[in-house]
Every structure is written in C-alpha cells, then in structure tokens.
C-alpha cells in the first residue's frame, strides 16, 4: 500500500465515522481501524449492533448516509474518488431499494412488495423504471446531506 493509499483509507474511514457520530439513528461506533481485515477490504469500523433487528425508516436512511460518508470524504479531501467505496455503494443500493420495494416506506410506491418471485418481476417495465428513479433520488438526497454535514465537520475528519 502506498502512503497515498493509506491516507485515502484513513480519510475514507474517518468519513464513515464522523457521519455516524452526528446522525441520531445510526449504530454507536466502538472502534475504527485502517488495518485491512482481509485481502481487498480497506479499513473498517466496528459498531454496537442493536439488540432488536427492527429498524425505522430514519435508521435505514442514516445507514445509507454512514455508508456514503467514506466516498464523500474522499471527494472532499482529495477531489478524486477511488474504487474503495464499491462495497459501500452495493450496501447503499440494497438499503435504498429495500425502502421502496420491501418495506413500503415511500409514499410513491406505498405498502406494496415489489420483490421478484420465480424470476419474473411482478410489475411493469414502467414501474421498474420509476422505482430506479426513486432509489436514485433517495441516494442522491442522502449524499447531499452527507456532503453538507462533512463540509461542516471537516476539521474533525482531519483531526
């Protein structure tokens, strides 16, 4: 790992941590490290998991924001982004999609399950397209919020 890569990982992890620190519904942070846990993984943070696995919409949105915090910090401090956020992006997409298609937490799609069963999706191509747009809207809004938050907390990320 080059010094620049190491630095990128540190700012990326700090970005996750600071984001969660200032979001009320995120899981409490216990530990943070930039020592890679396995090949391909960067640093990681350890959180105290909830005893209950019932999450509110606010908690799910905060999870999306915490996951985006790493990428936002990279953009903010280096003006460049890396492939380091790929797992985060996967997670973000999965949660945002679940909000819409599994948990009935958006007004536009209401209390309906849009999960695929037996291969074919039980809704039209038109609905699929609107759903993609809704998922993107959720993620974009979260990203903007995290950008504002981390801009404000820039010194703490760096500290």
């Amino acid at each position: 790992m080059t010094p620049l890569e190491r630095k990128t990982v540190a700012y990326h992890e700090a970005g996750h941590a600071i984001t969660g620190w200032f979001l009320e519904h995120s899981n409490p942070l216990l530990k943070i490290t930039i020592i890679p846990r396995s090949k391909g993984s960067l640093g990681f943070a350890q959180y105290l998991p909830d005893e209950l696995s019932l999450y509110t919409k606010e908690a799910l949105l905060d999870m999306i924001k915490v996951a985006l915090g790493g990428r936002v910090a990279e953009a903010l401090f280096f003006g460049k982004v890396t492939t380091g956020a790929s797992d985060d992006i996967k997670k973000v997409t999965r949660i945002a999609h679940s909000l819409v298609s599994v948990y009935g937490m958006t007004e536009e799609f209401g209390l309906m399950s849009y999960q695929n069963s037996e291969g074919a999706k039980p809704y039209s191509e038109y609905t699929a397209q609107r759903m993609d747009e809704e998922v993107k809207r959720i993620v974009d809004n979260c990203y903007k919020e995290v950008e504002e938050l981390l801009e404000e907390k820039k010194e703490l990320i760096e500290a």
Binding site: K7, P28, I34
Partner: protein, 73 residues
C-alpha cells in the same frame, strides 16, 4: 480523526471521544456500560502495574487477550 488513524492505525471509543468530543445524543445504556467497563479496565491495569510490577505479567496479558476476544463475540 484521519491523522490519528494514520498515526495509530486503530482507535477505540474512549480515544475517538478524546479526538472528536462527545456525540451530541444521549448514549444508549449498552454503550454507557461499555465505556464504564473500558474505564474500569484502564484503572485496574494502572493499579496492577503500580502494585506488582512485572510479577504475573504473563497472566495479565493472557487475561487481557481473553477480554478482547469476549468483546469481539
């Protein structure tokens, strides 16, 4: 926090708080207990060092390892 991470590679909750301050929300009971436990452990370790220097040093370190693995599970 990033500079501290570059320096130390890993930082735990008490140190995170010392770098960025308290979280602006009430702490959950489980987290409060965890923090108290960490504090007790630090004081215990300090007291032990004061009293019996390097006697039982081996025992102490294996005890610490055990605690650490408890924490992970």
């Amino acid at each position: 926090m990033a500079e501290r991470l570059l320096e130390k590679e890993s930082i735990n909750l008490p140190e995170i708080i010392s770098v960025i301050g308290d979280r602006p929300f009430e702490m959950k009971e489980s987290i409060r207990n965890y923090l108290n436990e960490m504090k007790t452990r630090e004081t215990d370790a300090a007291e032990k060092k004061d009293t019996d220097f390097d006697a039982d040093a081996e025992e102490e370190s294996s005890e610490e390892q055990k605690k650490e693995s408890d924490e992970k599970s």
